[in-house]
Amino acid sequence: MTDMLLDIKGLTKAYPGVVANNDVSFEINRGEVHALLGENGAGKSTLVKMIYGLVKPDSGSMTLNGDEFSPASPNDARSGGVAMVFQHFSLFDALSVAENIALGMDNSPKPRELAKSIREVSQAYGLPLEPNRIVGTLSAGERQRVEIIRCLLQNPKLLIMDEPTSVLTPQEVDILFKTLRQLKAEGTAILYISHKLEEIRALCDTATILRHGEKVDTCIPAQTTARNMAEMMVGASFANPIRSNRSIGHTILSVRALSTKAADPFGTSLHNIHFELKAGEILGIGGVAGNGQDELLAVLSGEVQSQPEAISFKGKPVGHCGPNKRREIGILSAPEQRLGHAAAPAMSLKENTVITAARRMTLVQNGFINWKVTDEFSKNIIADFDVRTPGTDTPAGSLSGGNLQKFVVGREVLQNPEVLIINQPTWGVDAAAAASIRQKLLDLANRGASVIVISQDLDELLEISDRFCALNEGRLSEILPSAGLELDQIGLMMGGSSDRVQETSP
């Protein structure tokens, strides 16, 4: 057992009203890439927080290198050789790469030495990064490199990575995996959290599967199928979304020469966006986060207005209309950020229904809200989309991410939109719920509505969209039929190369 690095025995952690982890035991060996799998709320983050010293377990023990390991803080964990790359980066936009890294270190070296070691580490692991660049100008992939290098500078024995590929293009994922394999060869253990089961099959040696806070299974990912792992996570089998052949109608929404200017210095401007959307069609828009997705949704939903002719609906210019006017004529939308944008966390589900459905569902008459009708419509959403909640008076913020997402999607779909624009429909949603949301979007298109799905999940886009394009630095790539699209081609579209090829070729 000399290979064993971290041994976890019977870790239990309860919060008021929920047991986040119950008697979880597993071990991680040196040079092993160990996947941690589970639905949202299965207890993955609590578990890694305990390993990283952010949360103290109620009971259970850990040994690291054979010694007792009970980190009281992330500092303790780091000095024990545990490092973590978080899903959400904690970087300061206005500071340089080196300054950001220095801020995260316990005793940072002189700036020049630090810059030198950053260059060394970035070369050694094939992660090109210039220490003097301002973080605000970096892409999401480059920002992740900052976080990884920050960890690597501490020579970790165990590197924890939380959903590292959710912000990367396929090419960037390849680079990351090369780095991780190199680390593995050097004997570093990696605890890898992801929803992307194919990636886990390609990268990980072992997978521990959590469900409702308990370890339910272990498997060797390479020897099983993604579907098998998904079913182990959910604890049941579920149906894949079914595509039926549907007829595509006339153009219903057309966008011509749409450009916007970013409101804040680190925002993205949209440049000369063109596309046409036909009735019954699902258009998938891919791209790495931060390339104009939020801006595109805002300008299509009406939160940001444009030239009237830039967007036309059934031949009529609507670019100057606000969100409510667009909802009235049938253009509905659901933004990516659930809490605070699509829904108000402190308000009840019933009240959140009013946010977008007030006019189209006539929940408001003569300025007064009809709470009875609102309550009924909210109950419809909850029933139809299987939202798990005690009732319509529950604050939106107390729902789990997946349940709130079902509510937000349901609120728009049940208003019978003619065009639905949706950003990240299944982000942070478990596999079964994601499948049911995709099915609902397909059903909506089958009824003749048009759907624009903006997503960073390529599998999702290829599964449900009829045509595919990608956003890169606020520009839209050419639009191609999704069927038969190669991953390489998609990567080029996401990287903006397909456009450049178009521009240079006569």
Binding site: G302, G322, P345
Partner: protein, 359 residues
Amino acid sequence: MIRFEKRLSPSRATTIITPIIAVILTMIAGGIMFALLGKPPLEAIRIIFWDPLFDPTFASYSRPQLLVKAGPLILIAIGLSIGFKAGIWNIGAEGQYIMGAIFGAAAALAFFPAESALIFPLMVISGALGGWLWAMIPAILRAKFKTNEILVSLMLVYVAESILASVAQGLLKNPDGYGFPGSRNLQQYPSAFNAEVIANSGMHWGVISAFMAVIFTYVMMTRHIRGFEVRLLGEAPKAAQFAGVSTTRLTIFCLGFSGALAGLAGMFEVSGPAGQITIDFNSGYGFTAIIVAFLGRLHPVGILMAGLLMALTYIGGELAQLMLGLPGASIQLFQGMLLLFLLATDVFTNYRIRIGVAH
């Protein structure tokens, strides 16, 4: 170890209980302070909280005074609470109160000495208009130039005070006043006098308006889409934008509404309890109302209670100064304690205390 732990959802019971606990804590801490000043603590507390309402000697004077003082506080605080809910901070109610008084008094004095049943309604409209116009300055500056409404509305208080001093000595000065600054006394002008509706109750039209404002606001905030938009803007500005709420229009509405109510309060004050425009006509109602709005948790019924409580500490405090010779500063300190404890106990609405080892 004692730690705060966030509640899953705000506790409704605590929302109601914490103000009561805060009052009790104020009594204890205030009592200690009074004792340290060498005054009998229990008697001082009794004089502040009990005697103004129930002592046979004082109650006949104090009870009407309670409504007279609480009326403007509630009226102004109700207006402010709407903006505060939406995250629009009108700090200048004092200035809007002054402008309402000037506009209301000017409307009356323009017709002096003609008598007509139309004069008082005209004064009501002018008073509201005066406060509304004064609040439109920060509103439009914010909407057009993104200025900070906190600073602009606050600065305009001092401008309004200067205008008040100027009109009291010039434009509205009583021609028969032997050169003294100050306008004619509206209490002696029957068409303009905001007399008590029920004799010796303190219940003048301003108090009735305050009660009506409480009901109106309650209905608007719970049932009307405008109230919903106000709450949404305060809770989640991006969600409000997504809901198609125009921040500009709502800013103008909230500032205008609070300005109009503050103006009304000033107009009812000048035509009733105060009687005339004088240099020092304003007495800080506009600022105290900010405290009242938060004491009442920005809820209409809460503000009603908070306004009455605040008025009680004023009247009781005056009484305690008179009866026990307590220094005025100690009464202000006592009121400060009340606010401190209310805000401190507010933490328990969203957090609970846990005693034990950290998990």
